[in-house]
Symmetry: C2
Subunit: 212 residues, 2 copies
């Protein structure tokens, strides 16, 4: 953010893997546009994304030219009297069919839930929750990012070579732990709805592959 | 279709207002690409569209570059070993998040319903249903397209000047007829779930504005 201001560049952030679980202050970080898929940490459905677009893009031209984003779109009787002007503000960047009466209510409820839990609390809870796992993995020789660059709600780690990945997948499934195993890497995500027992089952699943 | 073949042009059709209610044979009409929004005559939800894309676009480049449309996308463990090649066939033109587990089941059920009714039957039923309305309107001096260019499931008409449009809107609402009134034009759509009583209510709604 600071560097961008220095050189006069705009800062666009894909917040898909952070927003909803990690505080993200667009003012503090000088973010000009923050775009998020809705289906990850915002608990929304597929096919919906949310974006913050600052005044820096007030004069921009949207990728998708939707008639709904023009100034006279609310008047159905005069639909064919096209006006060229866009709605003021970020609304002109809306995708078509924004009045999505199936998906919008879903994501609205999801955002209410997040507001109820609060984002700092989600992050703090996640941090506390994973402490036993981090301790166990460090003991196995797994290295982690420094605290400054580490997020507790979502993190990847390289499994030690002695872990049999195929066996791990079997164990995870058996113990009902749902984790993305990608090659020798694990991508772990936690949230308020996880508890210490989940972490215990994950440690158990890894431990059982090493004994082999 | 024939003209396009003659001059070597490709024929792209927006079938949104026809497919599902009017037979549309891509082979018969030499259609190279047929694109439909899902939420009109296909009874689908917002945010889903369907397309037929012929071999004419086999070498095309999709507007949206989704990793799901590349050849190795099914192997999650090797996700970062990107392959440049697209899936063969029209699948490479798929939008992101095609595995939409909320919207896809909805449109699948909708298509089953249409297949059950059959498209020719929807069109034939609509044609029969609107006969009293057409007769009534012709009697009022309303002109219609010739049969060759007329679709019975969806048609627009210019109301006679003696119809008070504002009063008509009130009457339609009172009689629970849901029709798009745009200026002096009506856009009428019918389907299997409409019956003679609906048409009667519509005629009644118009008739009551003329007596004023």
């Amino acid at each position: 953010g600071e560097k961008c201001v220095e050189v006069g560049a705009k800062l666009l952030v894909d917040g898909t893997q952070s927003v909803g679980a990690l505080p993200m202050d667009v003012k503090e970080y000088n973010i000009d546009a923050l775009i998020c898929a809705g289906y990850k940490w915002l608990f929304g459905p597929y096919s919906i994304g949310l974006a913050y677009i600052s005044d820096a893009f007030e004069d921009g031209v949207p990728l998708e030219e939707s008639w709904m984003n023009r100034t006279n779109a609310k008047n159905f009787s005069g639909l064919t009297e096209y006006e060229k002007a866009y709605h003021p503000g970020a609304g002109k960047y809306n995708v078509g069919e924004t009045s999505n009466f199936i998906l919008i209510p879903i994501i609205r409820e999801a955002l209410k839930q997040i507001s109820h839990w609060t984002v700092p609390e989600i992050q703090a809870y996640s941090k506390k929750l994973i402490q036993p796992l981090i301790a166990y993995l460090k003991n196995l020789g797994v290295e982690f990012e420094s605290d400054k660059y580490f997020s507790s709600h979502l993190f990847a780690l390289k499994l030690p070579a002695e872990v049999d990945v195929d066996q791990l997948k079997i164990n995870l499934e058996k113990n009902k732990v749902f984790i993305s195993v990608r090659g020798q890497f694990l991508r772990i995500s936690v949230n308020i709805f996880n508890d210490a027992e989940d972490i215990k089952q994950l440690i158990k699943s890894i431990e059982a592959t090493i004994k082999k």
